[in-house]
């Protein structure tokens, strides 16, 4: 029988990692070659394959570097295909390719997992999906944060120019609660076969709850979401993107009232926005219609004060997911940092030869 691990030896290795500047402030798992090999055995991709290269920094991240950082983050080897898929998914996001990782906004990747892998790996999709307590939910997004830090050298106060950032920036990952959702899963909606293990990921700016246990009228509920989505503080450009992580209760109430997921999106596209007088009061009436442009307040009234500006251009700018417990009517609005790719990445199964690190543990 193996002897108990020596805590002092473990701590010494952890402190060594701190001294190298490899951590995000929390302890990391020291990585041996043997552990690294277990991670690499979970993918058919070459260790030398470059996942991404940041040309302006002259730095790149290979599959092997990703594996080291996933291991340091506390992932099990079985999570590694999800880490790779999450990275590929977020890099479909135009903002992530365009320097978003270094933005003053300090955007957080939102990682949503679909498919049976949720149950197989114990990925939480129900109660506390934004909260702590589940290893894959906590370590998969942390792996992305460590990749950014250690592979690309994007560290705070230098290449990471975050002004304040988002609480839990490297901790937002959960399964969709497919079992209690009245609608088809996100990855299926986007085009993958039902039952596919898949990751959807985008950069996000903030999360705001909508607590509405007060009405049985679906339009009242949607108006409550529209009020949160339409606040002026989040507005940089007139066109923006906001999604909702519906709790099962809200989703089921809307579905029971006859709202499909596209119906909900269409309703929000039509109703989310502000009148010109509101924008002018907040100094944001000079904001350009699309893309970069005027940001400062206008001297002159550009259009009548009751002119309505819709904020959400299309269904594609309103991603909808269902997660959480069916115990209260509390949902979450999230802000997409740039433009969601509206796509999901299939999680590649591990090569047959890869032994599960969970085998023989019980």
């Amino acid at each position: 029988m193996a002897s108990e691990p020596d805590p002092d030896v473990a701590r010494e290795a952890i402190e060594y990692c701190y001294e190298q500047g490899w951590t995000d402030g929390l302890p990391v798992v020291p990585v041996s070659q043997a552990l690294l090999d277990q991670f690499l055995a979970q993918t058919g991709r070459s260790p030398d394959e470059v996942l991404w290269r940041m040309e302006h920094l002259g730095r790149e991240c290979t599959v092997q570097t990703a594996a080291i950082n996933a291991a340091m983050a506390g992932c099990l080897p079985e999570y590694f295909p999800i880490v790779l898929a999450a990275w590929d998914a977020v890099m479909r996001d135009r903002a992530a390719k365009g320097g978003g990782w270094q933005s003053t906004s300090g955007p957080a990747p939102l990682i949503v997992i679909n498919g049976p892998i949720r149950g197989e790996l114990g990925i939480n999709s129900t109660g506390g999906n934004f909260a702590a307590g589940f290893r894959p939910n906590a370590t998969i997004p942390r792996a992305l944060g460590l990749m950014l830090r250690n592979a690309f050298g994007v560290v705070p106060h230098v290449f990471d120019q975050t002004t304040q950032g988002i609480p839990g920036r490297w901790a937002i990952c959960f399964g969709e609660n497919e079992e209690e959702s009245p609608w088809e899963p996100l990855a299926t909606e986007i085009g993958l076969e039902p039952g596919t293990n898949a990751v959807s990921c985008t950069l996000t700016r903030t999360y705001e709850f909508v607590d509405n246990r007060h009405t049985q009228n679906p339009e009242h509920l949607l108006n409550d979401f529209a009020d949160t989505i339409s606040r002026t503080g989040v507005m940089i450009f007139r066109a923006q993107s906001a999604g909702i992580v519906f709790c099962p209760e809200h989703a089921q109430m809307l579905a029971d009232a006859g709202f499909s997921k596209p119906d909900v999106k269409d309703w929000l596209v039509e109703h989310c926005g502000r009148i010109e007088a509101d924008l002018r009061r907040a100094g944001k009436d000079g904001v350009a219609e699309g893309g970069f442009g005027g940001r400062s307040a206008s001297d002159e009234e550009r259009v009548p004060g009751d002119t309505f500006t819709p904020f959400l251009p299309s269904r594609a700018s309103v991603p909808i997911v269902v997660a959480g417990a069916r115990n209260a009517a509390i949902s979450m609005v999230f802000r997409v940092f740039g433009e969601w790719s509206n796509s999901s990445v299939e999680i590649e199964p591990a090569p047959v030869a890869a032994a599960s690190s969970l085998d023989g543990r019980s």
Partner: protein
């Protein structure tokens, strides 16, 4: 190059990673984003002399 003075740390680090440590550039006080066009012109006038001196090498 001209950037606002809040970005000095990143600018210096970027110069170093591009193989030009100590690269000289000019700054203007932060913030810039909310300035009116007239205020931007004032900023430009304030820094124009330094731009000329840097380009002509007459800045010591």
């Amino acid at each position: 190059m001209i950037c606002s003075d809040a970005f000095r740390a990143t600018g210096d680090a970027m110069a170093e990673i591009q193989g030009a440590p100590g690269y000289r550039y000019l700054t203007t006080p932060h913030p810039v984003a909310g300035l009116t066009p007239a205020q931007v012109r004032e900023r430009a006038e304030a820094v124009a002399g330094e731009v000329a001196r840097m380009l002509t090498g007459n800045d010591g």
